[in-house]
């Protein structure tokens, strides 16, 4: 009889459907559109590798790379932001906007590759490094 009680309370209670143009309330940890910070991006392309719905596209050349994101294909799983070691990707804490044209929210970035970081200075005492590693173990 529990199911009948539940159905009755659902029937009497308020519908959970949110009718347009109202938007559902955003809660803590809500995953909206993927935001890209090109200043932080290292161009590793792991986001495109993680994206199973192929919403993120990454095309690379020697001098630059093109990063694009299509929210129409995105499932908002958050794997890209989770796997981004340079923290260039984050999820917006808001509902994606309503759009009427296909591909209206699609975004493209062309980022110049950063010159490779100079090799670190060889340390003066390799014997000491080895002993430190040994201590850590």
């Amino acid at each position: 009889m529990n199911i009948l009680t539940m159905l009755m309370s659902n029937w009497i209670g308020r519908s959970l459907t949110v009718l347009y143009p109202a938007r559902p309330a955003v809660t803590e940890g809500y995953r909206g559109l993927v935001k890209f910070d090109e200043t932080r991006c290292s161009g590793c392309s792991m986001c495109a590798f993680h994206c199973t719905s192929r919403a993120i596209d990454f095309r690379s050349s020697k001098t630059e790379y093109k990063w694009s994101y299509d929210p129409g294909q995105c499932t908002f799983c958050g794997r890209c932001a989770q796997g981004c070691e340079s923290h260039a990707l984050s999820m917006e804490q808001a509902c994606p906007p309503i759009y009427l044209t296909s591909g209206a929210l699609k975004c493209f970035y062309t980022v110049q590759r950063k010159p490779p970081a100079p090799n670190p200075e060889p340390s003066g005492n390799p014997q000491q490094e080895g002993s430190t590693a040994g201590d850590a173990r």
Binding site: I3, L7, N10, W11, S15, T17
Partner: protein, 304 residues
């Protein structure tokens, strides 16, 4: 029954003029009630009608290797038989039927199911074939119970005439038969937990997978008329006839509405059963139920 009465029943009331809007209304009630019980908004009032018009305006895509005429014939045949079944219901006391019209009503109620099975196999789609196989298996299971229930009711009332059935005083045995029919209705109308032939998440829409446009609109309408006919059969058996036509018609519509609501509650409260469980249910549980009814009917006849 003369020609005028027959035409009035088929075309005006309870036939097409009443039954077509009623079928859209019942389809809407079912969808809206299930949505309400699942905390959804559900479709607007005109949605089944709008769907029907939209489908009428759509073309049928070319289907290679499928007989076009055959595919068009099945929904039309189903629609004609459903409309005929609705037209045969003796809603008003002044409608004159004929001896044995209950048997014709049963045949007309069964024909849409047969058409659905044939349509699925005609369309050469694997999903449609699975749906048709399910419908055929279910049909064999629930129809035994359904026919036994009808026979038990007819035996208890000593008549196979619909009008006589509607007007004779009821007995406990009669109510047992009505209950058995109610148990069969979800399977007949493909409502949860017996929505196996049109299981959307598994086999798309089963036998109707290859249908579109005008043909699909005819199937939808035939299904709506099946709702009216099936709910109307229960209403016809249950509703007392008082005399004034408006009271009889009002009672018929109200009880049919109640049956639709009852089926909607069942649909919202249950999940789809597997085919083997469905068959087992109808053969084990309901068969006992119907056998009880028919044996009681025979016992009453001997006693009388």
């Amino acid at each position: 029954m003369n020609l005028t009465t027959a035409l009035f029943r088929l075309l005006i009331f309870p036939g097409l003029l009443f039954a077509v809007p009623a079928s859209w209304f019942f389809l809407w009630v079912e969808r809206k009630a299930v949505a309400g019980m699942q905390q959804r908004v559900g479709p607007p009032f005109m949605q089944p009608f709008v769907d029907f018009i939209k489908l009428l305006g759509k073309g049928v895509p070319a289907r290679k290797g499928i007989g076009g005429m055959l595919m068009t014939t099945w929904p039309l045949l189903a629609l004609a038989s459903s409309a005929g079944a609705v037209g045969m219901l003796p809603v008003l006391s002044s409608f004159h039927g004929f001896a044995g019209d209950l048997i014709l009503l049963l045949a007309l109620l069964e024909l849409p199911s047969m058409c659905l099975i044939a349509a699925g196999f005609s369309s050469r789609s694997i999903f449609a074939e699975i749906g048709s196989a399910r419908e055929a298996t279910m049909s064999v299971s629930y129809n035994v119970v359904f026919l036994l229930a009808i026979v038990s009711i007819a035996t208890s009332q000593h008549t196979f005439s619909l009008e006589a059935l509607a007007q004779t005083p009821t007995t406990p045995l009669y109510w047992l038969g009505v209950l058995a029919i109610l148990v069969c209705l979800p399977a007949k109308l493909h409502v949860n937990p017996f929505s196996l032939p049109n299981a959307e998440q598994e086999i798309y829409t089963g036998p109707l997978t290859e249908y579109a446009g005008f043909e699909l609109a005819m199937w939808e309408l035939a299904h709506g008329l099946e709702w009216v006919a099936s709910a109307g059969l229960v209403a016809m058996l249950v509703a007392p006839h008082f005399g004034p036509w408006w009271l009889d018609a009002g009672l018929f519509v109200s009880i049919s509405f109640g049956v639709v609501l009852l089926l909607s509650v069942l649909a919202a409260a249950t999940a789809r059963m597997a085919i083997d469980n469905t068959v087992r249910f109808y053969w084990r549980v309901t068969l006992v139920f119907a056998v009880l009814a028919i044996s009681s009917a025979l016992f009453m006849r001997i006693r009388l």
